[in-house]
């Protein structure tokens, strides 16, 4: 416990690159809320990689970066930022479902293989589903913004995507979540974070009539029995972890927008 508390307090002082701005300072403070759910080293890596990309953009591609941030604002980044803040707070305000996901992750492989032997007695799937969908959609849109910054830092052109194609930011934002998945592979530590969002849950859960069948312990998609509710809660935990990354992305981009006088 003492070690974990130390980890939590480390969030304030363990500063990666862009510090000294109220946005990033507060985001680091807010990040303490994620300490039980995101490992310290992973938090540091996620922040550092993103901050380093932004630093590379600021120093190596100053004018292009200003132009990219201006385009991000034109492409709905302020609204995205608002949604990230709202969703992150909504998810953390009711964090007890996250503990179920955490419990699942700590089960031995042998116990996980018999997940049907466990039951969850929660009666709030109807409230968790929209939160999951919101976090999933935001994480997917976040790929476009983080990917564009990464493109500029790595390839010197924000519209050069890792699949070798040239696309505008708006074109990538107009793609489906599934079509944007390739971007995650180019984002280092964030790739693992994104892999944890929909290991078990169908991408189209937001567009389907889904309910929790308590007797079988499974989610029912239309008339088809889908995954175990506990597996959904594991993906829900993954989606909430992604909001940690998005919180840092929005805070750091806001700091840069401010510092570059946009």
């Amino acid at each position: 416990m003492a070690q974990l508390r130390a980890e939590a307090s480390w969030q304030i002082v363990g500063a990666p690159v862009n510090t000294g701005h109220p946005s990033t300072d507060f985001a680091r403070l807010f990040g303490i809320n994620y300490a039980p759910f995101v490992e310290r080293d992973r938090m540091h890596l996620l922040r550092s990689e993103l901050s380093q990309s932004m630093e590379d953009c600021r120093t190596g591609h100053h004018e292009e970066y200003k132009d990219l941030l201006a385009r991000m604002i034109q492409c709905g980044f302020p609204h995205f930022r608002q949604q990230v803040a709202d969703t992150a707070c909504s998810c953390l305000a009711r964090f007890d479902p996250l503990v179920v996901g955490l419990a699942y992750e700590h089960l031995t492989d042998a116990a996980k293989a018999h997940i049907e032997e466990f039951q969850v007695f929660r009666d709030d799937f109807d409230e968790l589903k929209p939160l999951y969908v919101d976090a999933f959609e935001l994480a997917s849109r976040g790929l476009a913004y983080a990917g564009a910054i990464n493109n500029l830092a790595v390839r010197g052109d924000s519209s050069q995507w890792p699949d070798g194609k040239t696309r505008s930011l708006q074109a990538v934002l107009d793609m489906t979540a599934h079509q944007r998945e390739f971007i995650a592979g180019d984002l280092g530590a964030a790739a693992l974070l994104y892999a944890g969002i929909n290991r078990n849950t169908r991408n189209d859960i937001g567009h389907r009539s889904v309910h929790y069948d308590f007797v079988t312990g499974c989610l029912v998609y239309d008339r088809w029995h889908g995954e175990n509710f506990i597996l959904f809660l594991d993906d829900y935990l993954g989606a909430v972890r992604a909001t940690f990354y998005l919180t840092w992305l929005t805070a750091a981009a806001s700091a840069d927008t401010d510092m570059l006088g946009l």
């Binding site: 807010f30 930022r81 608002q82 031995t108």
Partner: protein
């Protein structure tokens, strides 16, 4: 903490010993199957801090004021909202392996200690940080440049 209550199912009018793991949230909505008639029963456990107490709300069962008798003929149900409950502890009294939390120990192996630490930290952060932040929404919004 496991709260033990005597309830009656409004569908079959049979007694049930309801054991609810008091979790982390102020409001815990739960669902379970009546062990007598298999009817789905829903309820909500609310925690109150000043003064410290808890209350149940349900349209499907009625909570009786009397303590559950030590009568093995009355079927029991063990309900947790913040832990996966293994079938092996279902319906058992606390002293007979009815704790879902303790049942997780052999199922997690070495991971149990870390899980327990993280769960405690989550509770600590919620009580001492998130709530005082006033559900941080406004502050986060302002700090990330919303306004």
């Amino acid at each position: 903490m496991l709260n033990r209550s005597l309830i009656t199912c409004k569908s079959c009018n049979q007694y049930i010993v309801l054991r609810v793991g008091v979790g982390l949230n102020d409001e815990q909505r739960f669902v379970f199957q009546c062990p007598n008639c298999a009817c789905i029963l829903r309820g909500c456990l609310r925690l109150h801090y000043q003064p410290s107490s808890l209350s149940y709300e349900s349209e499907d069962f009625m909570r009786l004021d009397e303590d559950p008798p030590d009568d093995a003929s009355i079927k029991g149900v063990t309900v947790y909202t913040d832990l996966p409950v293994h079938r092996s502890c279902q319906g058992k009294a606390l002293g007979n392996g009815g704790s879902a939390f303790l049942a997780l120990q052999p199922l997690m192996g070495d991971g149990f200690i870390e899980f327990n630490q993280r769960k405690d930290l989550a509770q600590h952060i919620r009580a001492e940080l998130f709530r005082p932040f006033g559900e941080s929404r406004l502050l986060l919004g302002v700090a990330t440049g919303l306004t």
